[in-house]
Amino acid sequence: MKVLAFGSEAVIYEKEGIIIKRRIKKGYRIKEIDERLRKTRSKAEFNVMRFLYENSLNVPKPLKYIEDKKEIWMEKIDGKRLAESFSLEDAKEVGIMAAEMHNLGVIHGDLTTANMIKAGKRIYLIDFGLSYHSSKDEDIAIDIFLFKNALKSKHNDVYKEAYSAFLGAYKSKIRKEFKGIDTHLKDIEERRRYNESY
């Protein structure tokens, strides 16, 4: 087994073309919280991946979930993290994918370019640990807000163009009325502290 990456909450291994994501124990939190988070997130992640995969969204094919080890086994995607090779064209692709995911009633919960893999022309979504099922405008808005914020902090040089490309593609694919989502989007930004509105 080869260690591919140490994330903030999981270690990613590779074994004969299979990716194993193991959620590791965190010594800073008490056992009750640690067990509950690792278990619920791993399980939710596996179920969401399976659901999206069956509905032909670009996600790695989930193979199995081993509860006592908090492990998810999945097919390997040969590519690079989008965070490392992000360009304007990718923003559009992400917009389409995010809309398709939301059309299926799934909220990612941590939509950033670090949680996407670019393989050739295709972009794959990964890291569904904070995902859940919802079609509420408010929850959808949080996903969009998180992606916007990630662009701003990680890809600041192309942030404005990238966000507008993302949003344009998103709006063209989302089946819900965007107005309702937009209202919540503005509300979230308002709720965050100290927006210089005056």
């Binding site: 939509l111 998180l146 210089e196």
Partner: protein, 320 residues
């Protein structure tokens, strides 16, 4: 170069003096409301009342006279309008009277700069936790970016709100911490982390319903464990995401030993550095304003008014 800094964003009025990068005085007084939270007008009255005394104490401590000061700095925001005005008016007056330059400082950035100074960590992720503020900030591309923050109330505010319902004095943090030590019975609570943001209002509602039904010790313990786990998890995500290998915790809530212990443990597990900052410089203080003002001494600033909603990422950092 002597810089005198004035802090008055919330309930603390502070005056600090620095000699280049060395802090030589740091005096303050904090308004402690008998009940409830901060009333803006009362904070301003408090600052007016204590300003002369605190200013004199800082000067005495440093052995300087006002005419020896080379640069005046004040906290421009974010903060409560009437409180901010006191510091702004006083520093404008002093800079005019003595004919010295005036610098406006972002309060959150000042917290980060003094943390860097006292921990020796040059490029940390900073978890800034106080009554009104809960932010995870780090340096990126000539600005301090807010990577994560609360989507509703500040963590200190949450603790105080619950403390008030439990009839604890303000601030409630020390009492909650003391009671938490007497329990290890965890009551499951909502754990709300959204990307790198956190949200506390759901916990507030949930905990309110436990009062009277569960032991105060157990509530305190479970509350601390839940909210601190969220904050440390979000901090770790920020560190991992922007490839930073050190953490500092600052703001009033940084006085909590359990929070520091968790920060230290998280860092040691990922082989990152963690250093606590002296409490004198973790709570709101004038020294951090003086020091940051000194760093900004060569800046040209057009707007020297107060900025109640001053965002951290609006300041271009030219001195780093």
């Amino acid at each position: 170069m002597y810089t005198l800094g004035i802090e008055s964003t919330a309930h603390t009025f502070g005056v600090g003096i620095s000699d280049d990068e060395r802090i030589i005085a740091n005096e303050r007084d904090t308004l402690k409301p008998a009940s409830g939270g901060i009333i803006p007008r009362e904070a301003a009255m408090h600052h007016f009342k204590f300003a002369p005394e605190i200013l004199k104490r800082a000067l005495d401590k440093s052995g300087l006279k006002l005419r020896d000061i080379d640069l005046f700095a004040f906290s421009q925001g974010p903060g409560i309008i009437p409180a901010l005005k006191v510091g702004a008016q006083l520093s404008v007056f002093l800079s005019k009277k003595y004919g010295k330059k005036l610098v406006g400082v972002n309060h959150c950035i000042a917290h980060l700069e003094i943390a860097r100074l006292y921990t020796g960590l040059t490029d940390p992720v900073m978890l800034y936790v106080s009554g009104g503020n809960t932010q995870i900030i780090t340096y990126y591309n000539r600005t301090y970016i807010v990577f994560g923050e609360t989507q509703d109330i500040g963590v200190g505010n949450l603790i105080d709100k619950i403390g008030r319902r439990l009839n604890m004095p303000f601030p409630a943090g020390p009492k909650i911490e003391e009671l938490a030590k007497k329990s290890n019975h965890y009551i499951e609570m909502p754990y709300s982390i959204k990307g790198m943001d956190v949200s506390f209002s759901g916990i507030e509602t949930f905990v309110s319903k436990l009062i009277g039904r569960e032991k105060t010790e157990d509530i305190s313990f479970s509350l601390q464990e839940t909210i601190f786990s969220m904050l440390i998890e979000a901090s770790e995500r920020a560190m991992s995401y922007c490839l930073k290998n050190s953490l500092v915790i600052t703001g009033g809530v940084a006085a909590n030993k359990r929070l520091n212990e968790m920060g230290e443990k998280m860092c040691s597990e990922r082989k990152a550095k963690f250093k606590p900052i002296p409490m004198e410089f973790a709570g709101d203080n004038g020294a951090m304003i003086a020091y940051t003002g000194y760093l900004m001494k060569d800046y040209k600033q057009e707007d020297l008014g107060i900025k109640p909603k001053f965002r951290t990422d609006k300041v271009e950092i030219k001195y780093r």
